[in-house]
Symmetry: C2
Subunit: 229 residues, 2 copies
DNA sequence: AACTGTGAAGTTTTTCACAGCC
DNA sequence: GGCTGTGAAAAACTTCACAGTT
């Protein structure tokens, strides 16, 4: 996800030479990073149930991932477990939160105050997992100034200034597909470093900016492949 | 994952006859299936822009996937392109929709009429990509009977009967994590075959039931790994 | 006895590179 | 010139299997 898979023939067609970026945070595969939040989610659940110790086997059963996979993944970051015993739930949570940089609270800007942006702003599930929504922006005069949950919708004109002055590095994009690229460009200009895009369209950002997509329909279509027609 | 045989009806297009057995006999990797909705999404965008023809190169550039990958993926389902020319956008859309079984409209049940269920019910983006929300269920007496968008919230007691009688095979789960497994069990009992789970918890379903997860926080945490602490 | 951490082996996925066609 | 489709090669990823620890 970090490095673009730009290949030589593409570079030639464009008449330019691209320097391939290396993985920005060392040599741990991104696919491993992608599983860590799932481990963390399950561990939180175990902690909720007052469980003190767990094992790669138990986690694997819950997540339907092999225990070897989990041990291998965790071993990239150090020996978090004890042979014969397993992993201390609280300790492993702390370690994973540190690895993922969610042992602090990140401020997040939401752009788009339609149904989706409104639902995101109301959602209580960000708080205790490392994220706090700081602002909600929209371009529509009919929405600006409206109170939605804990937020008053702010005009997109003051987005860059606000994001910069508060040092916000993460944004969620909940605008129509037509506007997603334009808004993403504005976010990049405001020095946003990670974008979670809910619009069903691919957007281009500089490679040092992280981007992830939420597209429920893509998941549904992936499942219908396996359903009887 | 079960592999479904390709339908024979696209064997004869533009006077060309493809031999189907060679392509439909083997298992197609799930990771390939997971990319097809992304191709479809990009192709729809191209069609919107009135573009008639595209290439693996152009698609790859938009999706940041190598052109070789795209050609390889598509080749699992037959020769959809023309050497020297590329792919007809409309034709490729039709073929991918057929492969993914979204060349029909699937009815979907939404369970949970909180903020999230409400937002899902209001979202207009399912309609033109193969899915129509048919019902919205909730357990809370204060919500039952309430009008939300085009739906009146129905009691969860009549969920199984409704799903069965209307032959609904897909559900979206937007209930609190605590209730997700229980509701999933009820959905499985109602003969639901695919569940899109928005609750941040892993749930267990029989292996013939498809399950996919939407967890925005997991995506955010995946990105913060790469951000400066 | 139970469990981790890890090289080695095995498997899957991606990329290369080019024949064949437009 | 451009492009696809595809075997072969390379790279990435997962699992195995076991030494070592509690």
């Amino acid at each position: 996800m970090v490095n673009l898979a730009l290949r030589a023939d593409f570079a030639n067609v464009a008449g330019l030479v691209f320097i391939m970026s290396s993985k920005s945070s060392g040599d741990i595969p991104d696919i491993v990073i992608g599983r860590l939040p799932l481990y963390l989610r399950s561990l939180r659940r175990l902690q909720n149930d007052m469980q003190i110790v767990t094992s790669s086997h138990e986690l694997g059963e819950r997540l339907e991932i092999s225990s070897a996979q989990i041990r291998k993944d965790l071993s990239h970051f150090g020996g978090f477990g004890k042979q014969g015993t397993g992993y201390q739930v609280g300790f492993l949570i702390d370690r994973l939160e540190a690895v993922l940089h969610v042992n602090k609270e990140w401020l997040v800007a939401v752009v788009g105050a339609g149904n989706l942006g409104s639902a995101i702003s109301h959602y209580r599930g960000f708080q205790d997992r490392g994220f706090r929504i700081a602002h909600l922006f929209d371009i529509s005069p009919t929405k600006i100034g409206v109170r939605l949950g804990d937020f008053v919708v702010r005009p997109i004109e003051c987005m860059e200034a606000t994001i910069r002055s508060e040092g916000i590095k993460i944004a969620m994009l909940a605008v129509p597909a037509e506007n997603a690229q334009t808004v993403a460009d504005q976010l990049v200009a405001a020095d946003i470093k990670a974008i979670l895009n809910y619009a069903p369209i691919n957007i281009n950002v500089p490679k040092q900016v992280q981007i992830q997509y939420i597209d429920p329909v893509a998941h549904l279509q992936r499942m219908t492949y396996y359903l009887d027609d």
